[in-house]
């Protein structure tokens, strides 16, 4: 039997790869998503600021500017359709002296050119009235009401699960080692064997340059730019109601202070170009810098409430902008590379952009039975008590608490393991349910969750993996 | 021979210097009180320890056990290994004997938790 030839092979199961796969799964195309990790959302998509940016920051006319604003506008519908938490809480960019006002005005002008609505410069008093915990040093602020926060794991999972429900295949724990093109067909060599496809969509994050260079002439380099973060307990989450940015620099948007969709407070990121594409370590200096700089925009941050620190790698292209195009020479090879900030915000629009490129290569015929809705795991802690009581009656496992900090029950953890593309690692369960994400960081629930994973996979407890 | 040890009699943690001859303490210095002297003497002549560990039962559940009394310190690993290879059928109750006369120490190993 001849090996199956996919219409499209997506390399990388981050937010861009999953959003693209979901978009392509609307059409009568066979799609496969390949990732070297054992779960979706294991790279840049899992460790970032979790912000849906308004879009005032990027250079007008750039892909970043265009796709950010488009992506932002799609979020309300998507978050309902795909059942992931997104809150349009607004953002401030704060400055600390009169001299910096022109920079705020420049950002506002840029934002308006990019099509961002509602931008407004607030005086010191107005800003402090809206956000009483802003540092006393804050002189003025640019207010962007369309900025929002999202759960990047659930967003990525939602795209992936919906793509899966609509027929896309996922080949995880499968590292792409080489790509060749024979006639019109790409042959992708991977740790699990050969995969053939008519189109390859390169969404490989910090590895996008390596994947590109497997089959195309070198066109760009991707530098991992490390960002370190601190996450504070929910009791600190209310200190600000909006995302508080500082004035951006050439290295990024600076250290922000923001509530998260789970009610925590997030501080960061730093920005350091590094060599190693796997180096997600935190450093003493980095964390010290996050502390020092976050205090410039918000006062009285209770740093003793930190529950974890982590770092993520932005996939920063040497061209400065997103690179989303079909390769000039190797037709059918589509890059979605250099997707650094505002990549999460842009992902829904990047997916449409990729769809249009694919449409130039393959016929796009809409499926009759495409189902755009995806229902997430019901997280009982988010529900009103009556609804919760009702669900526990239906499934008593929802009454057995496993994670006490985030109030996640055995039933919810079982859901996260048993659903399609379900969790196979402790981190996978954590991203899907929030278990172990609270103040004790899994101290109490880890053994129980390990036991559930071990049972499902038929392996001894000692072989249950935290990640990868 | 001179041996140094820390007295565990109280939080003072006196650093004791013990002169040992023929496996017996002939002099103890550094102690603040009589407890230190006694401790050093017994540590030198016949140090013993309680051993606690678990036995994986027939149902795969670990059952905690202990030696009913302290065993010679130099036999700890023998005792642990002997306990590990013991078989235990559930259910068991606190005080049930899991291993008799472990490693010839004259001490039984007993269950420390009711387990079904």
């Amino acid at each position: 039997m001849d090996q199956k030839i996919y219409d499209a092979a997506v390399i990388g199961a981050g937010v861009v790869g999953c959003a693209a796969a979901r978009e392509l799964s609307r059409y009568e195309l066979s799609v496969i998503v390949i990732d070297k990790e054992s779960d979706v959302c294991e790279g840049t998509s899992k460790a970032n600021s979790a912000i849906i940016h308004a879009g005032f920051d990027a250079e007008p006319g750039s892909l970043k500017a265009k796709l950010n604003v488009q992506g932002n506008a799609l979020m309300d519908r998507l978050s309902k359709e795909l059942d992931f938490p997104f809150f349009r809480i607004g953002a401030f960019v704060v400055c600390r002296s009169k001299d910096e006002i022109p920079k705020l005005e420049e950002l506002k002008k840029r934002g308006e050119e990019n099509g961002v609505s509602g931008l407004k410069i607030l005086s010191c008093e107005e800003a402090h009235e809206m956000e009483p915990n802003l540092s006393d040093e804050v002189y003025a602020a640019l207010y962007a009401p369309t900025s929002g926060i999202v759960c990047p794991f659930t967003m990525t999972l939602a795209f992936a699960e919906n793509a899966y429900d609509n027929g896309a295949e996922f080949s995880l724990s499968n590292e792409v080692t080489d790509i060749t093109k024979n006639d019109d067909i790409f042959v992708i060599s991977s740790s699990k064997g050969e995969i053939k496809a008519k189109c390859v969509i390169n969404c490989a994050g910090v590895y996008a340059d390596k994947i590109h260079d497997m089959v195309c002439y070198h066109a760009f380099g991707i530098t991992p730019r490390k960002g370190e973060y601190m996450l504070l307990d929910t009791c600190a989450g209310g200190i600000v109601k909006k995302t508080i940015f500082q004035l951006p620099t050439h290295m990024g948007k600076g250290i922000l202070v923001t509530p998260t969709v789970h009610g925590n407070l997030l501080l960061g990121p730093t920005a350091d170009n590094i060599e190693d594409k796997e180096d997600t370590s935190t450093t003493r200096e980095g964390i010290a810098s996050v502390k020092a700089k976050s205090a410039l925009s918000v006062k009285d941050i209770p740093y003793n409430q930190v529950i974890t620190s982590f770092s993520g790698l932005r996939a920063s292209a040497d061209t400065g902008d997103f690179i989303i195009r079909e390769d000039e020479k190797v037709k059918g090879f589509i890059d979605a590379a250099g997707i650094e900030s505002p990549g999460l915000s842009s992902a829904p629009a990047i997916a449409l952009y990729i769809r249009d490129i694919v449409g130039g290569i393959l016929p796009l015929k809409e499926k009759k039975d495409f189902r755009p809705e995806r229902k997430g795991i019901t997280l009982l802690a988010m529900l009103p008590p009556e609804k919760r009581a009702e669900l526990i009656k239906e499934n008593p496992d929802y009454g057995m608490m496993v994670c006490r900090c985030s109030q996640v029950s055995e039933g919810e953890i079982a859901d996260s393991i048993n659903r399609p593309l379900g969790a196979t690692t402790l981190d996978g369960v954590k991203r899907r349910t929030g278990s172990g994400m609270g103040r004790c960081q899994g101290g109490f629930c880890t053994p129980k969750i390990m036991a559930m994973l071990a049972e499902k996979q038929g392996i001894p407890l000692s072989e249950v993996k935290k990640n990868g | 021979m001179t041996r140094n040890m820390i007295c565990i009699g109280c939080p003072m943690g006196c650093e004791l210097t013990v002169e040992v001859e023929d496996g017996k303490a002939v002099s103890v210095t550094g102690n603040t009180c009589g407890i230190g002297k006694k401790y050093a003497e017994s540590e030198v002549s016949s140090p013993t320890r309680m051993v606690t560990t678990t036995i994986i039962s027939d149902k795969g559940i670990p059952v905690p056990v202990k030696t009913r009394s302290a065993v010679p310190k130099d036999k700890i690993f023998d005792v642990v290994n002997s306990i590990k290879s013991a078989e235990l059928k559930l259910p068991v109750k606190i005080g049930d004997i899991a291993v008799r006369n472990v490693c010839g120490t004259g001490t039984d190993v007993v269950v420390t938790k009711d387990t079904v």
Partner: protein
């Protein structure tokens, strides 16, 4: 309509069981213990080592045996207990929301509530240890549960950060399980653990204790590959050039315990910043009427025997509260108890001098190691209690008994302090 009971005890560990038994013996029999695990006993169930009960039972027991004694007491009295039941919230008017597999979600109102939820371990994140986040890093108690209750082999080459008692106990436990414990690093210049544990868990097995050291880097993408340990200066800052790399697949953290007071906060209970536990009076009643606290949720204890003793008092006091409908016999005369020189905190924070019927335990921990010192209680410039100590250490709880008659000359404030002096 909400269910109603006289006394709700939240947590079925040593504190909750002792409190329930004592309340029952004081005449309040309509008691329910709510326990989130599937059995009573709390953390004692995973503490399979011996050393418990010397004060309470005058013999040395293991954790499960100590718990077993109290479980027997609970059962003998037919005190109700619900395992697998998690309390989700407590309201200031003493309604608790409890959830379980068997009974679903319920709201239960109680005449009095005893908070006995225990504590949790300080996680890696709170320590801000730099480095990667691979598999193989556990808090010592989580590792203890995996090894002792699940029979799980967690690693072969081990480094332990923090010399709290659980870390020390786990150093021995891992060694007996065949692992090689390479070192225990402690940030402070002294260990927070008991001397006996340092000798019998480390020295016995030749495990080095590195005082004034900490972990400055963690290596390994998926599985832990090694940690870098460095010496720290007096401010706790790593000293460059002192780094040493330890290859290991497991890092255990034993860096302190934090009372678990999320439910207390939902009940409007005021928290003491020094203990992270509720502010209480001499009856162990919190700032919310009819809500009492005891055990490690109130302040982290060194010995379970003291947890049991304290919790018995909380149980009796809760019973008294229920019987007297919260009224005291005399007009209260509130004395504030504060931590003076060398004292980190006190429990209780206030004493009602007009209604003290029996001995009052004043418990505290010191800030540092003091040799040849005097513990003093001072009120209005006069010393009402004084005791010479050869040594006091932060790892051990001090306990002063105040007789009611000692309070006759006390007004306003009572300060507990350490007077340093040469031996």
């Amino acid at each position: 309509m909400a269910e109603h009971i006289s006394l709700a005890v939240i947590g079925g560990g040593p504190a909750g069981m002792a409190a329930a038994v004592s309340a029952y013996d004081s005449g309040i029999t309509d008691v329910t213990i709510f326990e989130r695990e599937n059995e009573l006993g709390g953390i004692l169930n995973q503490c399979i080592h011996n050393g418990f009960g010397l004060h309470t039972f005058k013999e040395e027991l293991t954790g499960p045996e100590y718990a077993g004694r109290y479980i027997d007491e609970v059962k003998r009295r037919n005190i109700r207990y619900e395992t697998g039941s998690t309390v989700l919230s407590v309201s200031p008017d003493r309604q608790i929301t409890v959830v379980s597999r068997e009974k679903g979600m319920r709201i239960i109102s109680a005449d009095a509530i005893i908070l006995s939820m225990g504590c949790r371990e300080r996680p890696r994140g709170a320590l801000n240890i730099p480095g990667m986040r691979p598999q193989g890093i556990y808090s010592a108690g989580t590792a203890q549960k995996l090894v002792n209750c699940e029979g799980c082999v967690i690693g072969k080459e081990v480094v332990i950060l923090g010399s709290g008692d659980i870390g020390l106990i786990m150093a021995r436990r891992m060694t007996l399980e065949g692992a090689h414990v390479k070192a225990v690093a402690e940030l402070m210049p002294y260990s927070g653990g008991l001397k006996r544990n340092i000798v019998q868990c480390l020295d016995d097995y030749g495990i080095p204790l590195l005082l004034s050291h900490t972990v400055v880097d963690i290596k390994g993408k998926r599985r832990l590959e090694g940690v870098t340990v460095a010496e720290v200066d007096q401010s706790g800052t790593p000293i460059p050039g002192t780094e040493e790399y330890y290859e290991c697949d497991t890092l255990l953290l034993s860096c302190g315990l934090i009372p678990e007071n999320e439910l207390s906060l939902s009940a409007g209970v005021k928290i003491n910043g020094a203990t992270n536990g509720p502010v209480v009076d001499d009856r162990l009643e919190t700032s919310t009427d009819g809500i009492f606290a005891c055990g490690n949720v109130l302040h982290v204890h060194d010995l379970v025997d003291f947890v049991s003793e304290e919790s018995s008092r909380a149980g009796k006091n809760a019973a008294d509260f229920i019987r007297s409908c919260g009224k005291t016999k005399n007009e209260p005369v509130i004395v504030r108890v504060t931590a003076g020189n060398g004292v980190r905190y006190t429990v209780p924070n206030t004493i009602d001098a007009a209604n003290a019927s029996g001995d009052i335990h004043l418990r505290f921990r010191v800030r540092n190691v003091y040799k040849g010192c005097t513990i003093k209680l001072i009120s209005g410039g006069s010393v009402i209690y004084s005791k010479k100590k050869k040594i006091v250490v932060p790892g051990e709880m001090e306990d002063i008994i105040i007789k009611p008659e000692m309070l006759s000359s006390v007004s306003g404030e009572l300060v507990a302090e350490i007077e340093e002096g040469a031996v």
